[in-house]
Symmetry: C2
Subunit: 228 residues, 2 copies
């Protein structure tokens, strides 16, 4: 499958590598290919510049957002949540119409102090805003409730734990569930919450996720919904 | 221990019964004793009027909020989240100063449609608002992330699952953890998130809790933080 990952940060890189390892034809989309490849900057977590990672992943291509999205069978939104709608606007309805977008982003708002809060929140969500703006894009919110390395390697945390899925299009959700299964997510651990309004619920897990990261001293954990 | 439960709804009744079964001297506080005992109304979930439940729980007393709180070694806030601050205002600083309050309430806001949203949320929380208003009350947020029957009977859901605790006073948190352990919560499943600002994280679990209730078709579930 031709998969395009929007975003060159650690989430985009990790999802790209995970899907590349499964044999998919993976392209990463960025605002400006030249400046992404020229950058010498580490990110806030000390990850190396993109070009260092890129040199180690010869199976993955880098293209401008629009060109990268145009060829995709499946899109992953791994951009910063505050930038996501603008990135999708720059790609445009004509290319996005009819495609499936897995929205992995969270609308983290660093303007109100640390840990970040969310914007939008509570009566709206990023997943809903993307779906509302691009009516013919099939938005599936998923994978946004965990550390990025866990997204593509669920066995990194032992035992049972869950990944949530929500969206308005059943076929799109089913195709995303197949991708999740191929990444190692067992079917009984994939929780389908329903339509895209459930993005509010999964995005609002971020505040406690960030606090658990502090309290536990590790990001190697995940939510498990324990039932009888 | 003399424990006072603020609130006569299903949460207050269930916590009261659970603590009464452990041998504590339990009093429920209400706005008006006479009208609470006169009411013939079922609640929104079809639970019987308070007086029916009360007749079956002869070990539990009912008093007006102020009188009930005055005699307590430990308080539980089981009022509706939108009413909690006003109820505590009616009790007053003089009685509340120095006491420990377990804040079980969530600030569910039904004015924005169903499922309810939260108010306050994101950059504030009910736990923080109570602590800010009553500086000498020792607020410990806990038990607000699960079905009320599970609060006092954790084995109702099989396997490992968690209860969160946060608050500014270490001694108060430790005394609440002892109560949780006496209710059946194993020490390694009690997660101390830190100070009262962590209330934001636990209250913001409610939106996905409500959606999981719908998706799973049962309230008999709980969050488990799966770690290595």
């Amino acid at each position: 499958m031709k998969v395009t990952i929007l975003g060159t940060g650690i989430v985009g890189r990790t999802v790209a590598a995970g899907l590349g390892n499964l044999g998919h034809e993976v392209t990463i989309g960025t605002r400006n290919v030249e400046s992404t490849l020229a950058s010498e900057q580490q990110d806030a977590y000390g990850n190396p510049p993109f070009k260092v990672w890129y040199a180690d992943h010869q199976n993955i291509k880098l293209k401008a957002f629009k060109e990268a999205a145009a060829q995709a069978d499946l899109l992953f939104n791994c951009t910063s949540g505050q930038a996501s709608v603008a990135v999708l606007e720059s790609i445009g309805d004509e290319i996005l119409n009819g495609k499936v977008l897995v929205d992995v982003a969270n609308p983290l708002d660093f303007s109100q102090g640390m840990p970040p809060s969310l914007s939008p929140v509570n009566t709206d969500s990023l997943g809903e805003q993307i779906q509302a703006r691009f009516a013919n894009l099939k938005v599936v919110k998923s994978l946004n409730t965990m550390n990025t390395f866990l997204m593509v390697n669920p066995s990194m945390v032992q035992g049972d734990h869950n990944v949530f899925v929500c969206g308005n299009d059943e076929d799109a959700k089913n195709s995303v569930k197949e991708v999740l299964k191929s990444l190692g997510w067992r079917e009984n651990l994939i929780i389908d919450l329903g339509d895209i309004t459930n993005s509010r619920g999964t995005e609002m897990l971020l505040p406690i996720w960030l606090r658990l990261w502090g309290a536990l001293g590790t990001a190697e954990f995940n939510f498990h919904i324990q039932t009888n």
